[in-house]
Amino acid sequence: MAHTDTLLRYRPWRGVPHGPLYASVALARASLKLLLRRRLMWGLLALALLVFFFFFYAQYLVVWIENQLATDTIRFAGVPVNAKNLTRFLDRLALNGSDHTFGNFIWYQGYVLVIVLALAGSVLIGNDFFHGSLPFYLSKPIGRWHYLLGKSLAVGVLINLLTTGPAIVLWVQAGLLYDWRSYYVNHLSLLVGIIGYGLVLTVTLSALVMATAVWLRRTVPLAMVWMALFALLPMLANWLVEATKDERWRLIDLWNNLYLCGLSCLQTDHATIRPSPQPDYWMAWVAVGGGVLVCGMYLRRRIQAVEIVA
């Protein structure tokens, strides 16, 4: 500060500043770093890792038992038990590298993912509105959509870190557990399906996180709305389906709709989906598409009006 006459003497820079899309990526990176500074986030990631490890080792265990101990009996608490029966409790998870393996994995990761996204929404977006940090971002050469894109990218990374990425690792592992040449060739559609499932999750949940965070801003109301969406609505949907015998009531359960969309990407036979009965795939797609559309319209409306009024 002493030599003010030399101020603003930048050494000439010959580069051209990147466009706002580049800034969106920078914003996403900064947002993720902010989020990862929180211990709670690391706790949730550890929980998600536990779910992944469960699937990873259970899949290995099932295959190992099938291959190595298929005909053996072992003594369990003094009682001879067929080794294959030991893993029967895992049958529901279909840990055999099939479409249901990945569908189930992503389903169970959803419990952690929902909490992660509620936290991410309030930290990354809600705080900007609530504490008034937006003027700093929006005074830079980026538009409102670029801001949202940056935040969506951060949310998308989280979603894929918890679901698509580990599911792909499970697919690779399944190939190594079986005949990898035939598995990778014959089940390539599963990999495409996993990526498709991840894409559906990314688009839908990003839009939902954005919309709810822009709407509610604070952590507690945000968590309550997410609980309602992902805990109460599924319970209500089950109750309504049982009461009315009409499976279309499941369409009010967003996570189930996403699950159905994911399974349709994985080309799962509709009849094998549990719990049953389930609405048709196209209905789930329409419901998810409608949700994304509503979120998009809400965000567009908000963005036209996002004005930094202290």
Partner: protein, 353 residues
């Protein structure tokens, strides 16, 4: 040397007072070739802004091309709304705001604008350096360039050696400097500063004033909103005065004072023979009254307070009077040409903002 001396000002004619229709306009400096070839740096055209039933800005027309302009007015006068609109944070309900011909709402316009908001809501977990660096990345710079610019601006605002601390531990003044640093990152042509001196200690204030002056000398245009009228007067006498959502006056303080015909100019004159000089002054057509001020302890007893209309004409007549009669003037001081006084006249009350 003051900034006003360094920077040529615009024509005196671009000055209007509240009540006159629109076109409160224009000022000052910019490299001549730019001024002729390019659209104005900042242009408000008949801009109005409603917040529900509240009219925050009312038919504002304003043009800035360079130099330092102070934005003053009472709370709720519309200063912050105007600044946010200039930075594209708010859209006008009616009218148009452009930066070099580009709509201020468009992100491209913000390449030319640095904004230092009045709020200081940061991510408190970040260090000052990290925050500024992140802002540099949002400007589109590569990592290396962002680092270089971050260090440059931190040095510039005197925060280089304190930038590693987390923002939550910063004092008000340090936060102001960090806000200023992020506004300077992309070397903007137009710098919009909302209360930049608030919370800064006197030494720091002087440093920042020098910084603003050096920026203006380098051809930047600064629009500074502040309630610190004394500090603002040191920086510039070119002001935009806002009242009730309208631009009450634009111009230099003496220009604005000249137009305040309803309020006679008060001038203090110290002379050895006050009564004789008072008699001469009363013969001047623009002098309304002359008071012989009562003697105050430790002050010269020979003091006159003259009230006159048409300040410019009065100054000429008084000059002639002094030459004709060989008056020995010890002190000549206009009492109400300060920003405070002018604001008081324009806005009513004491002029407090």
């Amino acid at each position: 040397m003051t900034v006003e001396q360094r920077i040529p000002r615009g024509p005196a004619g671009n000055l209007q007072l509240l009540g006159e229709p629109n076109a409160s306009a224009a000022q000052s400096v910019a490299p001549p070739q730019r001024a002729t070839l390019e659209p104005p740096l900042l242009l408000f055209e008949h801009v109005s802004k409603w917040y529900g039933p509240v009219l925050a800005l009312n038919q504002v027309t304003l043009e800035l091309t360079g130099g330092i302009t102070g934005l003053v007015g009472a709370n709720g006068a519309g200063k912050s709304t105007l600044l946010r609109m200039a930075n594209g944070q708010i859209q006008p309900t009616m009218g148009r705001v452009t930066i070099r011909g580009v709509e201020a709402w468009d992100w491209r316009a913000r390449r030319l604008v640095g904004y230092c908001p009045d709020v200081d809501a940061f991510y408190e977990d970040l260090s000052g350096r990290r925050f500024v660096w992140t802002m540099a990345r949002l400007c589109g710079y590569t990592r290396r360039e962002a680092t270089r610019r971050t260090e440059a601006v931190l040095e510039r605002v005197g925060m280089a050696h304190r930038a590693e601390r987390k923002l939550r531990g910063y004092s008000k003044g340090m936060r102001q400097r960090i806000k200023l640093a992020q506004a300077l990152l992309h070397d903007p042509e137009l710098l919009i500063l909302d209360e930049p001196l608030s919370g800064i200690d006197p030494i720091g204030r002087q440093e920042l004033l020098e910084l603003f002056q050096s920026l203006a000398v380098q051809g930047k245009c600064l629009l500074i909103s502040s309630h610190e009228l004394e500090a603002l007067e040191k920086l510039t006498n070119h002001v935009v005065i806002m009242a009730r959502g309208r631009i009450a006056a634009v111009g230099t303080l003496p220009q604005i004072r000249d137009l305040l015909d309803d309020y006679p100019l008060s001038v203090r004159i110290d002379v050895p023979q006050p009564r004789e000089v008072a008699q001469l002054l009363l013969n001047l057509p623009d002098v309304l009254a002359v008071d012989v001020a009562p003697p105050l302890p430790h002050e010269s007893p020979e003091t006159l307070v003259v009230k006159a209309t048409h300040p410019k004409r009065f100054y000429q007549q008084f000059g002639q009077l002094v030459v004709q009669h060989g008056l020995n003037i010890r002190r000549f001081e206009p009492l109400d040409e300060s920003a405070h006084a002018i604001l008081g006249y324009l806005l009513g009350g004491s002029g407090k903002t």
